[in-house]
């Protein structure tokens, strides 16, 4: 993993791995958690577990905004909250909308890094070389 220049970040990953897993920082007003997420360009939102949202000081149960999320196996009604910041690979994006939903324990990750974060970048994924680039 390295910073290629001021405007570009590269992350090397195993192209044969089941997914691209990154450490992602999720931040509330006065609290921060760094968890592992799967990069998911098929996910409209960043997704975090309910408990992490609550630890950050948010109350997803009383969120004014909810959405139906279509997963591979079901349609789920889930709250949307706006995190103070989300960061990965050293790049901080403020005021990111995230959906609160718990992934199965077998995933062993704490969320999905979806489009509500990724759409701030030009994202390049080279599966032949195993390089993720955010520009």
């Amino acid at each position: 993993m390295f910073l290629a220049d001021d405007n570009m970040v590269e992350h090397r990953f195993d192209p044969k791995a089941p997914g691209i897993v990154l450490f992602v920082s999720v931040c509330g007003e006065d609290n921060k958690r760094r968890v592992r997420m799967v990069l998911d360009t098929g996910s409209t939102f960043v997704l975090i577990p309910w408990k992490i949202a609550q630890e950050l000081g948010y109350k997803p149960a009383v969120s004014k905004e909810w959405t139906r999320i279509t997963t591979a196996s079901a349609v789920i009604y889930a709250p949307i909250i706006t995190l103070k910041a989300v960061a990965t690979l050293g790049i901080v994006i403020n005021n990111v909308n995230v959906v609160c939903h718990n992934l199965p324990d077998t995933s062993r990750v704490d969320g999905l890094l979806g489009l509500s974060y990724l759409r701030n970048f030009k994202v390049e994924i080279d599966f032949k070389k195993g390089i993720l680039t955010l520009v």
Binding site: P18, R36, V38, D40
Partner: protein, 78 residues
């Protein structure tokens, strides 16, 4: 679940506690904000036990699994 206070690199902790969930207070990060050193607060095979402790903590903490992701024999499809 074991609650403890131990400072080590993330790499050392991953080797020492394989296939467990760790709760670590982050003390150092690399240039890309990845945690590289921290104070181990708790480790457990059960994620729920880690959540019970982290629920009351304020600050910069990392929660992660040290083993294979996803669980062996499973694939991601969300």
């Amino acid at each position: 679940m074991i609650i403890m206070i131990k400072i080590a690199t993330i790499e050392e902790l991953e080797k020492q506690y394989p296939d467990e969930w760790l709760l670590v207070e982050v003390l150092e990060e690399d240039m890309l904000s990845n945690p590289i050193k921290g104070r181990l607060v708790a480790h457990s095979k059960a994620r729920d036990e880690i959540d019970e402790i982290s629920a009351d903590l304020k600050g910069d903490y990392s929660i992660f699994f040290t083993g294979e992701i996803p669980k062996k024999g499973y694939a991601f499809c969300f």
